[in-house]
Subunit: 240 residues, 2 copies
Amino acid sequence: MPSLFKRISFEVAGQANERTLTLSSGSNNGHYISLRPLLNPSTPEEKEFPWEWAFAGTNDTVEVNNKENGCQQIFDFGFDANVYLQTPNTHRGPVDTFWATWESGLLKETGTVYPFGKDKDGVDFVELWQPIDAQRDEFVMQDKAESKGRSVTFKVDNDQFYGLVVVVGRWAQGVLAQKGKSTTKGLNFIRSVETVSGEIKNLIQFGSDVSKFPSFFASVKKSDKVEVNGLTWDVIEAYF
Amino acid sequence: MPSLFKRISFEVAGQANERTLTLSSGSNNGHYISLRPLLNPSTPEEKEFPWEWAFAGTNDTVEVNNKENGCQQIFDFGFDANVYLQTPNTHRGPVDTFWATWESGLLKETGTVYPFGKDKDGVDFVELWQPIDAQRDEFVMQDKAESKGRSVTFKVDNDQFYGLVVVVGRWAQGVLAQKGKSTTKGLNFIRSVETVSGEIKNLIQFGSDVSKFPSFFASVKKSDKVEVNGLTWDVIEAYF
């Protein structure tokens, strides 16, 4: 079953806060994307690139192990904005996380990253995730992690671009990264929601190639190729 | 403006969790009630009385001081389930809390309680509160603390009973405590939501006197007296 989580709190080195509107989409087959735009960018750097982070990947880039009190997920991201941008003092390589579910349905993710290298001290983090009903065009809290509705994933991985779009219920999130660049100019992000009246509302459109994202999800099927303004996407999953 | 908050996380002595479905209602005039029923009572004691806590009070029992980075609220509850039940090792007297608002709209409440007495070590707590749209009959997240819609408060304080019912938007929460008792038999709680179709859905009905709670809020006005199965409530606030 697909899932849509809204982040409630990000605690790092003991300090909790939430400065983003972060949504993480998980498809039926386990493809994932997490977009973490800042709500109120304040520094010049934040205004230039108003993102805490973004990552995405297909299900072959995450190892999931069910445990007694939760679930271990080891991410080796297909796309990681920090790696792409070569941001100094950020983590490289797989991230080992543990997910516990509270009685309320909230998920508590814990892990450690190594921004200064594997041989240096790690930094612990805790993230709280509220499951959201992906069938709704507002943030309606639900008490279970799995949502209903369609689950469609588009992928592109050619000489020029890596891209992934995960559509869960009414919500689509996508990344499209131009290969061979390592600046924000090569990055594109999209987040949209389909309203009750069937209109696609773009909540995030970042980058000069946003017109290359697929925006019509209703009638695709697995293995379709969808061309959008010169870019061909593979439909790697389509459940309705 | 009235407010409705759903608790996301309760951290005490460094351990965070959420085992309740806690809603805190704040009326337009600052009257308040917080009901904290356990979601999955497990021990025999929890099954007997499936509540973490409950409290309520009129606006003269809370001191609010705006500060640079948030808001101090000192509660000297009109009703406190622990005081009523004489629960050992629970706090007595005013509770000094501080409320900070995150960019996301979430509220972080911090404070210290003294369950073993004022002269003993205190216990720090942190609670995260998600503002909810009180006009909706589901838990729709909103990014501001204040909600719209009606704000009606009923109070009773006579020889036999202390009671307070706060109606915020579609949501009503109430407590009714029989005086001179200090057991769970003297306690009554109610939580209801008015659905889009106008039906009042009781989500919580606890106690043998729940039939004495007012359940019709549409046409009352301030200073009205409303009799419900022999108990007379004062309408101390009514905004529509």
